[in-house]
Amino acid sequence: MNDEAEFLEYVQAGGLVETGDWMPDEYRARLVKFIEMHGNSELMGVLPEREWILRAPTLQRKLALTAKVQDEVGHAQLIFGVVEDLGKPRAQCLADLVTGKAKFHNVFHYPTHTWGDVGVIAWLVDAAAIVSQKALLKCSYAPYARIMKKICWEESFHILHGRDVVLALVTGTDAQHELVQEALDRWWGPLMQFHGHPIPAGEDPMVVWRIKSQGNEEARQQFLDGYVPQVWELGLTLPDPELRRRDDGVWEYTEPDWDELRAVVTGGGPCTQDRLDLRRRFLEQEAWVREAVLA
């Protein structure tokens, strides 16, 4: 197969593509951009949590959080391997990340104020991510779909860890309960932006190439349907007066702040530059290790 129209028909009919197969340039370019951003997000996503390893409330929590950080860095390694096989070297991915040329997910550009944020991130940010990642199990690019199995399996521990942290706080003192409520209030906006603009699936090139198997709005609805009831049953509230489930099962909500999303992912988030600086510093600081190992 070496014809774009034929290839498109093949993937739309459920066909799977391997690394060595012929693929249109546009398909390859979209895969690289999307998968690279996923890898960047895994790598940058550990930074907000890393800040809490030394401040975790118990030894058990410290170990669990460290394990989560290890998992996420492991995901980044697997994902960058897939990008490398598509033709973009890992060193180039890292260089593009620290110079701000490549993007990473909006939720990793924000500060973590309290241990409540750590619980909300592990529970709800990971829940939002797992909705997207589960849909990627059906990606037309098979090497990516294959590693997603392991990634989804590990994310399920993170959601448990996050939910356990949240439950411990909401069953604690009023002040602890309040920590979760405040964190939810802070994270709800970014969480609603997470799955992106509600582009109709038929017009989303990522869906057309069957790189993604669901549209953005479908993912957001799945997230809301799965997790809003779990938040409400704990006596917590979400800062959106419009949020409700209609009789036909569709969730209504206030339009997410798309300007904020754009500003944040293009380098204007509250922690974007600090976190990129940290990544850059470590990349430079540890260059000698890579050189020594490869010598």
Binding site: G20, Q70, R146, V293
Partner: protein
């Protein structure tokens, strides 16, 4: 160097491809594969194979349509009917 990792989940099961890792040599590959594919006790054993050592075979032509090698090469229905008629056995009971 890129190593392909094959993972055996439980004793007696086949080793299935789990993914690949990049490592400067075999010793690093062992250590990283252990972390990536075994730290939750999800593996009984791992095989690490340098990617360059993997030989790939893709095409399996069957120009002569050698049906006798496949189950669809054996259509017993007609002959079985004939044999049962000749033996006088009841086709609704016999199978």
């Amino acid at each position: 160097m890129i190593f392909e990792v094959f993972r055996q989940e439980k004793k007696g099961q086949p080793f299935a491809h789990a993914g690949s890792i990049e490592a400067p040599d075999g010793a690093f590959a062992d250590a990283w594969a252990r972390e990536q594919y075994g730290r939750r006790g999800e593996s009984e054993a791992l095989w690490l194979v340098p990617r360059v050592a993997v030989r790939e075979v893709h095409d399996f032509p069957d120009e002569f349509d050698l049906k006798y090698r496949r189950v669809d090469g054996y259509s017993l229905k007609v002959r079985l009917k004939e044999a049962r008629e000749r033996a006088g056995t009841n086709p609704s009971r016999a199978r």
